[in-house]
Amino acid sequence: MSSRRSRSRQSGVSRISDEQIADLVSKLQQLIPEMRNRSSDKVSASKVLQETCNYIRNLHREVDDLSDRLSALLASTDTDSDQAAIIRSLLM
């Protein structure tokens, strides 16, 4: 207790405790679908962070794929089909 108080007097800006970090890491664990069901005692922080990075990279890749598909759809609207009508009604 006294050590924490003296540390906080030194830093003065952000008082980080182990409990806070463990809390944040467990919150991250709940967000990642693969790790949601594992008990938080058996999972190391390092593993959670690794899975978080992988998950964010996957989400980025998913968004890039969707962007490419959307851009292709938007560019190919020179026909008189129903899709062209939908796109026109949404975007113009």
Binding site: I16, I21, L66, L70, L74, M92
Partner: protein, 219 residues
């Protein structure tokens, strides 16, 4: 005289104890308020209303992309991705660092286009310097954990120089926002590509399910 000198330290320590109690209470209050707001933010990204708001903002942004797009595929896809990220950052209403970083990065790039080479060179020099840890931790001093948090800080926009707990907080909000972005763009793509494309696979699944099925099983 002697009695007043003796009594003073007692009152001083009482006062300091009371003020430190008050400071602790206020800090706890602020912390719980911040935590409540964070919880609200997480559920906010899952709501249907938020997704509809994002979709309409995205459509507005795509309208502008359409008007000025070239026909080269990588540039087109990149333009749509940037529009989607910008719309996502606007939907966050500026309460998180990553959203502000996305919006300010656009301005920086516009003004610094001709200086881009110089910027990347200094970026490399900066990464060669040893990274001094400014975190005062007890048990999480493992280099593996700190290294991974740095990697995470590079993935989330605007979080490269933040201390560890801030990076973790930004990441939790960013992940929820990205999931909503994927849901909204998937719905929009299916709507635009007609009924044939969405046959049987992704219409009702969450983006997490599609991601899980596409990744190889980890041990």
């Amino acid at each position: 005289m002697a009695s007043s000198v003796i009594s003073n330290p007692v009152t001083n320590s009482d006062r300091s104890r009371e003020s430190s109690k008050r400071k602790k209470k206020k800090k706890n209050q602020i912390q719980s308020q911040v935590r409540d707001q964070q919880n609200q933010n997480h559920t906010k990204w899952k709501s249907q209303v938020q997704q509809q708001l994002y979709s309409s903002k995205l459509l507005q942004a795509l309208r502008q992309v359409r008007l000025g797009s070239s026909n080269e595929t990588p540039r087109r896809g990149r333009a749509v991705r940037e529009a989607a990220d910008r719309a996502l950052a606007v939907a966050a209403k500026g309460r998180t660092r990553w959203s502000r970083a996305i919006l300010t990065n656009r301005l920086k790039l516009k003004f610094m286009k001709h200086k881009r080479q110089r910027v990347t060179v200094t970026g490399q020099n900066r990464s060669k310097k040893p990274k001094v840890s400014i975190l005062r931790l007890k048990g999480k001093n493992l280099p593996a954990v700190q290294r991974k948090v740095r990697v995470l800080g590079r993935l989330v926009p605007g979080c490269r120089k933040l201390p560890l707990p801030d990076i973790l907080e930004e990441a939790t909000d960013y992940i929820a926002a990205l999931e909503m972005q994927v849901r909204a763009m998937t719905a929009l793509t299916e709507l635009l590509s007609g009924a044939g494309a969405g046959a049987g696979t992704t219409s009702s699944n969450s983006p997490a399910d599609t991601l899980r099925s596409s990744r190889p099983p980890t041990s």
